[in-house]
Each structure stands twice: as C-alpha cells, then as structure tokens.
C-alpha cells in the first residue's frame, strides 16, 4: 500500500514548517504528497441578499485565489524537488474537511501546523489541530 501524506497549508510560517516536515518524510519514503488548503466556511453563516446573489462568483474567486497564491506555488516547488505532489482547495470547517479529505484520498498520515494566521484565526487554528487529533482515523502529526 502506497503512503499518502496529507498536509494542511494556510500560507502561514507554521503551515510552511508543517509542509517542510511533510515534504522531507514524503521524499524519504517515496510517498505521495497532498497539499490541501481549506477556506473556512459554514453552511450556517448569515449573509445579505446581495452576498447570496454573488456567492457563486465569489466562491470561484476564492478557489482561484487560494490556488494561485497558496497551493499551486507549493505544488510547483514540490514537483521541482521530485516529489509527487497534488493540490486541493475546499470550503468548509477546517478540521472536518481535512478529515474528509484524508478519507477520500486514503491518506496514511495528516500533517498540519499547530497554529496558523494570527489573532482569532490563530485561536481557531489551535483548535483545528486538536479537533483533527480527536476525529482522525489515521495518525496526525502536529508541527509547532
């Protein structure tokens, strides 16, 4: 069975450390690397009529921006290092979405940073790691 490392990135330094850690393991073991970025989103968020009307357009823009600014450059540089890398961007609850992705792609290990971003987001990301540890059914590596 082939090894698949799923790494969560958010453009922060801590996310980069998690990425570097995952990249090293991946190249050592000749595994596949999935670079995932989750855009925090809830189906229960309140919005205005106008926001709803433009939501589909915004979603496309968000996906595109996440690919262009975060995921694609990483995948590019990983491939240059000879790593079999693939990028994914999804909307959703960060921890639960990473969990779903791990199941979907048969990941054998999930790697993510302990904190990411700043302020409230940092607080949220702190709980991303702990939530994921609770719900994951594969080993989770939390990089400080």
């Amino acid at each position: 069975m082939s090894l698949v490392f799923l790494v969560g990135v958010d453009g922060s330094d801590c996310g980069s450390r998690a990425l570097e850690y995952a990249a090293e393991r991946t190249s050592l073991k000749g595994a596949k690397l999935l670079v995932a970025h989750v855009i925090e989103w809830s189906q229960f968020r309140f919005s205005t009529v106008e926001e709803n009307a433009e939501r589909h357009k915004r979603r496309e823009e968000e996906l595109q921006r996440a690919h262009e600014e975060i995921v694609d450059p990483i995948v590019q540089s990983m491939r240059e290092r000879g790593i079999d890398a693939e990028g994914i961007v999804r909307h959703g609850h960060v921890a639960r979405t990473l969990h779903t992705l791990a199941q979907e792609f048969n990941a054998t290990n999930v790697v993510l940073g302990r904190i990411g971003g700043s302020g409230i987001k940092a607080h949220l990301f702190g709980t991303v790691a702990s939530t994921l540890v609770q719900i994951a059914d594969v080993p989770v590596t939390v990089v400080p």
Binding site: F46, T48, E51, H56, K57, L63, G92
Partner: protein
Amino acid sequence: MKNIMRGAFALSWLATVNPAWAQNGIDEQINSAIKPAADAVAGFIFSSFPVGGVDIPFVLVWLIVAASIFTFYFKFINFRAFKHGFHLVRGDYNDPNAAGEVTHFQALATALSGTVGLGNIAGVAVAVSLGGPGATFWMILAGLLGMSSKFTECTLGVKYRNEYPDGTVSGGPMYYLAKGLAERGPGFAKLGKVLAVLFAIFCIGGSFGGGNMFQANQSFSQLVNVTGGEASWMADKGWLFGLVVAACVGLVIIGGIKGIARVTSRIVPFMAVVYVTAGMVIILANITAVPAAFGAIISGAFSPEGVAGGVIGVLFQGFKRAAFSNEAGIGSAAIAHSAVQTNRPVTEGIVALYEPFVDTVVVCTITALVIIITGTWDPGVDPAAGVQLTSDAFESAIGWFPWVLTIAVVLFAFSTMISWSYYGLKCWTFLFGESRAADFTYKILFLFFVIVGSSMQLGSVIDFSDAMIFAMAFPNVLGLYFLLPVVKRELNEYWADYKAGRLQRTR
C-alpha cells in the same frame, strides 16, 4: 379614478403653497404634501366590497383564496413537507462538492431577515388593537396557508432564475412570470411580459413603501417613544432621523460599504432570538394567564365583542397583518430565495415553508400573546400607536426592554430596507436595463423615501405601504395560477425520489 387623482394632486399642490403650512415644522410640510397622493393610491389598491357590513378589500380575498387553492392543489404541502424541510435546512442533503455555495439555511435566513421585522412587532399590535385578541387566530391561519404560497413562488423563483456569465444569479417573479409563461405559448408570452412589468413597477413601489417608509417611520416612532414621547426633543425631528438613516443606508447601497450590511445581517438574527426569548420569558412568567389568553383568542375569533364588523372585521385584521408580515403571495421572497445552490428547485420551495411559519405562526403569535397577557391591549387604544403598543406590553413586564426593543426595531428596519432596496433595484434594472445611471437614480429615490417615511404620520404611511406591497400580489398570483402545473411536475418527481430513497443523504 381620474378625479380622485386630480383632486389628490390639487390638494398636494395646495398643501405646498399655502403659507399657513409654512409655519409648521418640516415634518408637517412633508406629511401634508405627500399624504393626499398616498391616500389616493391606497384607496385604489384597497378597492373593497361589502361583506356582512364590513368593507373587505379585494386584494386580501385574492391572497387568501390563492393560499387556500395552493394548499389543496399541493395536497397540504405545508404540513406534509414540514419535516423534510427541516432536514433540508439542517443540510442533510447538501452536496459536499458544493461547499462554499449558498445553502438552504443561508437562503432561508436571508429571506427571513427581510421579512421578520416591524410587521411582527408593530403590525401585530395594530391587528390586536383593531381586531381584538381574535385577530391572532386568523393571523395564524393565514400564516399556515401562506406557507403554500411561499412554496409555490420560491420553487419558481429558483427554477426560472437567471444565471449570468460572471457567476451572479438573479431570480424572482419578474423572471418566472416572463420566462415561465412564455413556455406555455406565444399568447401567454405576451401576458407574462405584461405581468412581469406590472410586478416590477409595484415592487419598486413596495420597496419605497413597506420596505422603506414604513420601516423608517416605525423605528423613528419607537425612538421618540423611549426618549420621552411627545416631550422628547426628537419628537418633531423625523426628517433628521430620516437623514441619518438615509446616510447609513446610502453608505451601504451607494458607498458599497458592505461591512455595515454584513454586520447587520449577523446581528439581526441575534436580535430576533433576543426578542423571541424575552417574549417567551414574559409568557412563561404569566403561564397561568396563557389558557385565558388562548380562550380570548378563540372566542374573539368567532364571537368578537366591540369590534367593528364582527367576525368578518376580526378576520380582516388578522389576515391583513399576516399578509403584510410574511409577504406570502407578494413575490418578494422569491427574489431572496433564488440564489440557493440546488439542482432541484422544489427543495427551496419546501425550505421556504418555514418562512411564514417562523414569521407569522411563531414570532407574531408571541407578540400577540405578550400584548394580550400583559393586558396592554384595550379596544380604545389608538390604532396608530403601532410599535408603541408592543413596546408598552414588554415594558410592563421587563422595565428596560423598550431600549432593547428600540435597538431591535432600528436594526430590523435597517436590514429590511437593505433587502428591499435590493428587490427594488432588481425590478428597476429589469425595467430600465443595467446601467450605472439607472442604478444610481433608483438608489437616490430610495434614500429620498427614507426621509419622507420618517417625517410622515403613521396612518398615511401604513396605508400607502400596504397598498404598494399588496399591489404586487395581483400580477404575481395571477401568474402563479398559470405556472401551477410546472410546480406540480417538479414536486411530484422530487417527492417520488424522496419517498423511494433516491435522494442522497450526506449526513
């Protein structure tokens, strides 16, 4: 009719030139200039015929008959799809690949924040003071029937929405009337176009009336009320309040400051919860009075005392306020619901059942119970008091609540205005095409009516607002009758899939 209009114009002209008026405040001037025209419009829309000694406006019969027909035609969809609607709202059937799109919950919450508002607070107070406790019964009944109207219009709103190349979506009666009827043949296409244009015109009127002037007027009246009533320094400064509100609305709709609208859209649901909780607390604290209150509601519904027009009069008040509050059959909700992500339009119709339910059956009933239980209702009270009556009812139980209510009222009014400015704008661009000039003209007019609304007296504002909003029901409901088979087909296919377990449950 021509004579009435001519008279109205003559009156309004007289009102503006007569020097006697000039000595009064700015409010008085605005009021006297607009009132005759407003009254004339209201008089026409509410053309009525006498039933049992009461003049019943045709438009109300129109709405209630439609709601009843829809309820029977779809075999009590309002009850049989109720549970499934809850599962849809909870996201049990959401497509995981569509995460990030507008969910059923969001579409419903957005539509609700446009409807839950002053109709639930001020409107109910007016119904109970004019129709007695019994009006509540008819209001609830109208709410339950109205669910079927919402189901029909929201299904169509999604089915015939426009999806533009840039990724934005826009739907509503103007599109389903035009596109839906066109599918039925060339003759219908012409009718559809006429109905769509009529709807758009009335909707623009509604966005200036009930979606704007009424909101501004009632939030100002509550503000005056808590700051000392007649003696308040604000009492004659409606135009000033109007200016401030118009500035805030302007920042959002012209200035593009989305942050304000976004913050409001988050706070409004919270305020609604606070309002409902406070109502429940008062009801629970007086739990012993509840059976008597329900007794008064039931007996008042069928054998009212001291209400003009007896049973018909009570029924009229209840139906009228329910229709004004939940807007079922009016068509506005179809605009709000149409952005949802789904490939089965009927799902949004089922979700929309919850709108009149929450709005009328739950929130309006709570307001009515609080008014009845606290005894702040009495037949002699001034019906124009509107929101003040509800405020007094809450105050008698929770002394500081009027302040909270004031914040709630202002926020509800603000979010309703933002929603309606969008509905109106969509209709405006439907008529005049998309252009920056058209866009700007509408928005300036909208702001102007905010100021007018806060300067006028409730009586004429309420009549004009009602008139404009109810006028939308004529083209909308007429079109709905022709489109019923389309909805039926969608519903039957969907319901068969649902019953056979062919729908993918993702939770």
